[in-house]
Symmetry: C2
Subunit: 223 residues, 2 copies
């Protein structure tokens, strides 16, 4: 049987035919994971559908945490998927060609001080930075503060890509800079990618070079 948030199930009708489906409109993550484990403990073969990659900031960890608490020996297998990170990078060009750090700006389950520490560390060591959960209705100041912290280490001209609703019908892609990024629309469904010191833009793409051009001559006699 298949368990999932209705919004995600609506995206995969072709996979649900002939299967028992438990959709949840507003059920919380914890309740959904608990329900799956209870059904599996009863002997059901349960697929829990997650958005993006269940293994990156998503449901997989919660299922393991709860399974450990319950201790009823259910077997769990994680199927990887395209995380927001992968999808947003592809839409922007090639921003993740070099070392990168992913940081969630949600302080619902993480102390804000630790989030600030991670932002500063990633910025100082010139990681490309992917910001998850950059802004919600209640948390509008986190992205402002995150930009300030990164700006202490990086030029205002640093390319910034913002992808909202990646791969969905309402997808939007914005290419801007660290200096001007707050003028763009950033919401719950956005992922914000901040370039490193070498990231450049070209014809609407955001590209972080790997370093080849210093090592190889690109344009040879065979052109």
């Amino acid at each position: 049987m298949v368990v999932g948030y209705q919004t995600y199930l609506d995206l995969i009708p072709e996979l649900l035919g002939g299967k028992e489906v438990v959709s949840s409109q507003m059920m919380k993550e914890v309740d959904r994971a608990r329900q799956c484990l209870a059904l599996a403990a009863d002997g059901k073969n349960v697929a829990l559908v997650s958005g993006g990659d269940p293994g990156i900031y998503a449901m997989a960890g919660l299922v393991f945490e709860m399974a450990r608490e319950r201790g009823d020996g259910v077997k769990i297998k994680v199927i990887p998927g395209i995380a927001a990170l992968n999808a947003c990078a592809a839409r922007l060009g090639a921003p993740l060609m070099h070392d990168f750090a992913a940081v969630s700006l949600s302080d619902l389950l993480t102390p804000w001080e630790l989030i600030e520490k991670r932002l500063a560390a990633a910025a100082a060591a010139d990681f490309v930075i992917a910001l998850y959960n950059p802004r919600s209705k209640k948390r509008t100041e986190h992205i402002v503060r995150a930009r300030e912290i990164i700006l202490a280490h990086r030029s205002p001209d640093t390319p910034v890509g913002i992808v909202t609703g990646a791969t969905r019908e309402n997808e939007t892609v914005t290419l801007t800079t660290l200096g001007r990024m707050l003028e763009a629309e950033i919401g719950m469904q956005s992922c914000v990618l901040i370039g490193n010191a070498s990231t450049f833009t070209w014809q609407g793409y955001m590209v972080t070079p790997r370093g080849y051009s210093g090592k190889y001559q690109f344009v040879g006699a065979d052109r």
Copy 2:
């Protein structure tokens, strides 16, 4: 037409039927990208096949870098995929549930000093760390030094997962610790995931908690 390294093309025979295929046994990345762009400039519709996600430490960036140099206005679209990061995390359980940093230990195109700086920053700020290119025949000391740097900030009991040849027939998965990780086999096809201070192991899985258990009571009356 389809261009790619023969090893990757062998994995997708069902996608190559009826198409013109240019495989390269040993051709270097730069030559392969150059060939694709030359064919596209001649009006061909070319798919360049990459292992993992072309957008994460892979071919996409090189193609953009070379296209910019050539300046012949070829259109490029990146299709995201399952990167080593996604696949290895899934095989290990759920190690990437919280902020993480990806660092390549290859100094072929990056100064080693910068790699050390990134490792220290990621370790000090308690990021889960994914090490790409951890060891090759020529570079056997980088992983030794990387472990030292991380060990200065993290307990030797920290869980470490090593996945080699993820999703391939020869896939191996090893769960160890920061203290003992060098006893395990680590090679060219390995990705090494190092937990943060909260990462735990349970029944052969490696799990980084998101923080729910501090916030919610898992085991309710409905069990």
